[in-house]
Symmetry: C3
Subunit: 343 residues, 3 copies
């Protein structure tokens, strides 16, 4: 971690609205885990399983729950939710560059586009006709905003993001490099000899406070829009098919794939590299574990999985041979039950 | 769906070569599903399972098979294949921007490249020496065409596509943003201490009428070319390894991965996030279901799957414990059969 | 394969440090497999299983082990490791374009950046303040190098690569198009209503001799760095989560996903589309087969797999029904064993 920001503990307590027990003048210049934090750094205890690490922790201050306030010998900041307070603290030490507002000389912005003064357009970015950009947006170098694409306020597009025409995004979006929003959904009608393209006439509509990872792709709808609701967080390399709806505050982990016309509820979590077949619905508060395939609609909250655990390959091969015979094995068992029953 | 195109029903019947039963002067300004279409829109019945939706359908006209012509109270267009006619109809209402021909002032085109007047080169695109581009191609903003890359006529490259040197693409290609064609295949010789790079001396050769999705990658061959045949359709985030051949009109769904030196036949469908091990062959007309791994060559047409269905995680864990014991469980069954047999 | 380089066999023997048996004046203008090589080409026998192909091989020379020197009728180059010698030979015939040094007129390089004369900056590339680039680096067209990003010597970034701020890369890196290094790790603290972003204050640190595939993403660490050690080779479309460490000379195949805070040892191979859950460790010299999920730490070298083999879908469905019943099936077996035992 490299940065050059520092605060007194009193300032941090005030900024994060936490109760300080200790020295308000203590200077904090970074954040570390309980194990790695050094003097001058702030740490946090969110999982009580780690409480034993407080003893050897070198941090100058630790964010803890009230009930653990006495477990650390030095300064503590008391929070009802130390992990959330830690998340807020990271914002104080973020040294990400803040691009200047204005249009870089090498960018191309269509003449008819009316940009707020607060907007920053990076080098070699391209903004087509009809685009609307809200206050304080940053459009990174090499980004492409197609005709009539629309961004709310405070959006941050990192380098080389592509938005197709008419894609609409709310406020406070963060979109990482290489993401592509609004490419054609994958739709064809097979005429017996070849695939006839179904033009994708819908678009993509994204709510407020959405984050989209690097190289993630979200396709435009066929007739209606693909919809990503407020607060959804999407990791890298995720594929969202056309006409998908993802409910508020759901979280989609890296490499997941959501097939076309799937509806996902609120507060769901799709694990890394998980996926769904098309045209199904998933209820609110469903969690799907890593690399699992949702093979039909899920109507009740809960945690779901598919696949098998890893094994030594030699043992796994033996299990696989048996998996292929599993129906006949079960029938043999049934026969045996019958014959034993007769006895 | 937003657009500003409209046609009379008579015009549509004529353009799609369909028989009209009803009012040829009826104005159509869009397309909708049976459920969502409103007055002024065209709909279609392709799956007879939905015939009951015709009753409440608000569309001004519906594309149907002849035998269903009387099932809708208003105007109908009669097609032997309503889904294909629907696909053709979407082209009439496509409002995608049509870039002007010419080279954008901010693009870089090598001086020695001879471009047809009909070609459009977008802002900040880069066209290297020796590139050949056919009539009516659109090269989107931020695209990169490496040395001696070759495009046929009527190709459309969306923004930020990368073509490496010598990649050759036929006519009518559509390539979506972020796709990378011709990067090095993944080949190394391990010398006992480190991986020695095998330079990838082949290229990628793509036929006519191929569509390639956003952030899809197709690697160049090691000694010979990677080959994508006519009419192949590839979705987003697909990885095609070096020296792969994909036969005509096959369809590769999102997030699929085809390992190196695999040969896939004609008219295959690889489901979403499916994959193959390397150096195998897949026959014509094979369908692989979502998230399935093809673990050896497939010699007969048909549908193939791997993996397990999703379950509640608690139940799934119990099945997994047993899966690990499956060989010994089967042996226990065999023992029991033997001992019962003796009785 | 298209190129215009040729060598005498004597030159090749000298360049690769191999013993030649045959005509040193024989001209070689390319490389082919035993099956496809034509006159004028060089081939190689690395897998003794293919020794029978030497009989019909049309190559003008073949690289073989000493013990196979007499199995080919024409010229041979003798190598203790023909596959490694073949890899070295490919470098002789590589016709990839070599960009000129200098900064392209359309690139943007921050005024304060001091570039070695040997560096090539491609068209429309963007180099931000504080960037450090070593000797003989090539920065491809459309690349983005964020603030204080650092490259060693002899690095080659293909087109449209994005490096976020402070990413540090060693010598001899090859990074393919569309790769994104240093985007935010996926970290949020859930406050009961919404996800609060954890700013990712770490960076990515990459050693020497690393290759990174097209559209691969490597996230920056939360508090500390994500670390990729010397000699690691990463294929296309791979996702590396935050705070991952990958040990020296490990190989990560296409579409694999490594979850956050995973530590992978040296000389490991993760197969295509394989993955890991988060916060685990994998020992040195572990091989994970294609599309397998590592569901807990692996402490011993060896080969590991998960999932099931592909089957005809109809048969697979029957196995899946039984998989869901597997715990109760096993209990039925146990009951039967008990009752048979009593008998």
């Amino acid at each position: 971690m490299a940065h050059n920001k520092s605060y007194t503990l009193g300032e941090i307590a005030s900024l994060l609205n936490l109760k300080l027990v200790g020295d308000g003048q203590c200077v904090i210049n970074g954040i570390g885990t309980l194990k790695s934090a050094s003097s001058g750094q702030l740490s946090f205890l969110s999982n009580p399983a780690y409480i034993d690490q407080l003893g050897a922790c070198q941090a100058s201050a630790v964010i803890v729950e009230e009930k653990h306030a006495e477990a650390f010998v030095s300064n503590v900041l008391i929070s009802s939710s130390p992990y959330v307070s830690f998340a807020e603290a990271t914002a104080l030490f973020d040294d990400s560059p803040e691009p200047e507002s204005g249009v870089h000389a090498s960018a191309y912005v269509n003449d008819a586009v009316d940009l707020p003064d607060s907007v920053s357009i990076g080098a070699n970015a391209v903004v087509e006709a009809g685009v609307i950009i809200g206050e304080n947006c940053v459009i990174g170098p090499g980004c492409y905003l197609g005709n009539k694409a629309k961004l709310g306020s405070n959006c941050y597009l990192h380098s080389n993001v592509s938005l197709y025409h008419r894609v609409a995004i709310g406020n406070n979006a963060i979109i990482h490099s290489g993401a592509v929003i609004g490419a054609d959904g994958f739709g064809f009608a097979f005429d017996g000899e070849k695939s006839v393209k179904i033009r994708q006439l819908g678009s993509v509509k994204i709510g407020d406070d959405v984050e989209i990872g690097a190289c993630t792709t979200i396709d435009r709808g066929a007739l209606e829009d693909t919809v990503i609701c407020d607060g959804v967080k999407i990791d890298n390399q995720v594929q969202i098919g056309h006409n998908v709806t993802i409910g508020q505050h759901s979280v989609i982990c890296g490499c997941a794939g959501v097939s076309g016309s799937v509806t996902i509820g609120k507060y769901c979590v799709l694990g890394g590299a998980s996926g769904t077949v098309g045209h199904i619905s998933i209820a609110d508060k469903v969690r799907v574990s890593a690399m699992s395939l949702v093979s039909e609609s899920i109507t009740e909250p809960g945690t779901y999985s598919s696949g098998t655990w890893h094994m030594k390959t030699s043992q796994w091969k033996r299990s696989n041979i048996r998996f292929q015979q599993l129906d006949s094995i079960t029938k043999r068992l049934k026969e045996l039950e019958k014959s034993t029953d007769k006895n």
